[in-house]
């Protein structure tokens, strides 16, 4: 079937199988491999992207459901010379080790901060409940999100 989606500001018209998943379209058709597929069972959150302004697990969205939508992936929020405040905070606070969960963590955290008013530590932990990290123990991730919140709100 034919779908058209706007990914990171660029319109894409694609012919995909009826049972294609958004995560696979992003990775395999558009080469946007920053979106990771970890568990493939909608638990780990490594595949989180923004779809029409909301964080979603792209391994559990059919490509057809994303037809006409605006999608933002980790590739669309910054670049090495101009990191998004959330990316910069993750780097500064050593909020990643292996890095596999990081794209999903960052996309979830941005949506969380944008929709919240003054998150505290517990608010960040609750808000990132759907993102699993097997390296860090979460502590530095929480620190990074709290730091980025200040940067994003003052920006």
């Amino acid at each position: 079937m034919e779908i058209s989606i706007t990914v990171n500001g660029r319109s894409e018209a694609l012919d995909v199988p009826d049972n294609a998943l958004l995560a696979d379209v992003l990775r395999e058709r558009l080469g946007l491999t920053g979106t990771h597929v970890g568990c493939d069972t909608s638990q780990c959150g490594a595949c989180v992207v923004h779809m029409d302004g909301a964080a979603v697990k792209s391994c559990t969205v059919l490509a057809g459901q994303a037809n006409g939508a605006e999608v933002t992936t980790i590739e669309g929020i910054g670049n090495p010379d101009n990191l998004h405040p959330m990316q910069a905070a993750f780097r500064e606070n050593h909020a990643l080790q292996c890095g596999f969960c990081t794209p999903g963590m960052i996309m979830s955290a941005i949506d969380l901060v944008q929709k919240s008013d003054g998150l505290d530590e517990q608010g960040v932990r609750d808000g990132l409940e759907g993102n699993l990290c097997r390296c860090t123990g979460y502590h530095n991730i929480v620190k990074a999100v709290l730091a980025a919140q200040d940067d994003m709100k003052s920006a």
Binding site: M1, P17, D18, N19, L21, D40, T41, S42, Q43, G45, V48, A54, A55, V56, K57, T60, V61, L62, G64, Q65, N67, S108, D111, L112, G127, E129, G130
Partner: protein, 260 residues
């Protein structure tokens, strides 16, 4: 996933005719249960009919004494609403943020998962399920494990809740999935109290014995006096039937205590 034909109708009539023409069709709402089921090859529908393109099914309307929640309204939208605070609090405890951004009230109740949260509110509040064919009282909707009163092809269009005087939901979540091991929704409507239980039995039910006890005094101390038969309760690796029976009492006491 097995192959299927994907459809995204723009109207309810179009959705119904696609279903009627399919060999073995299924409706898709938020997909938070159906898509994982398809991925595990536990279902093999010939046609998946996505209700996400029918704009009229989404949104919350305050009618004064009641609120109407469109069937495709996402959990996150209900969680951010304020007409029935206990219902918003319940919606805010479903799954994780990403599930709440996709999952819908209509999909949740049409599935009648024994561990889903919304069914506790549907049976405890005076509610009506509006469909493409009729209106069903919330107390008559859940029929068993993954079974509802819906006919083949029938689509939920909205859920109407009467505003309670006050209400509270207490839940013991599975720490991994956030599904309710047990959830109890207590609603006070004037002098009457209604108690809805999810997670414990094959589907959500009213705990009428506790309601009768609470009629002679609204207090958590009524809970130990109310009979509760846990012999048919769910038992799995997370909790035995007996443990679920105890959790129903503990969650009921917490919900009642929060309303005093």
């Amino acid at each position: 996933m097995y192959q299927f034909n994907y459809h995204r109708p723009a109207t309810l009539d179009e959705a119904a005719s696609l279903m009627a023409g399919a060999d073995d069709g299924t409706y898709l709402s938020g997909g938070m249960t159906l898509i994982p089921t398809l991925k595990q090859r536990l279902a093999a529908p010939s046609d998946v009919i996505d209700l996400g393109g029918i704009g009229a099914l989404s949104g919350i309307t305050d009618n004064g004494n009641t609120i109407s929640v469109g069937a495709m309204t996402r959990h996150a939208e209900v969680a951010a609403s304020n007409a029935i605070p206990a219902l918003a609090a319940l919606a805010g405890q479903i799954g994780d943020a990403h599930v709440r951004n996709r999952g819908t009230i209509g999909g949740s109740i049409a599935n009648s998962d024994p561990a889903a949260d919304y069914p506790a509110a549907v049976v405890a509040l005076d509610s009506t399920i509006h469909t493409t064919k009729r209106s069903i009282h919330g107390g008559e909707f859940f029929k068993g494990l993954f079974e509802t009163a819906l006919d083949e092809g029938e689509i939920i269009t909205s859920v109407e809740f009467t505003k309670p005087t006050s209400a509270a939901y207490a839940k013991f979540p599975n720490p991994a999935s956030r599904y309710a091991v047990v959830g109890v929704f207590v609603a006070r409507c004037g002098d009457a109290t209604c108690v809805g239980v999810t997670g414990a039995g094959p589907c959500a039910f009213r705990w009428s014995e506790l309601e009768a006890e609470l009629a002679s005094g609204f207090s958590a101390s009524a809970v130990p006096n109310a009979a509760l038969d846990h012999s048919e309760f769910n038992a799995d690796i997370h909790a035995s039937a007996e443990f679920r029976g105890n959790l129903v009492r503990v969650m009921a006491e917490r919900a009642i205590a929060s309303l005093i």
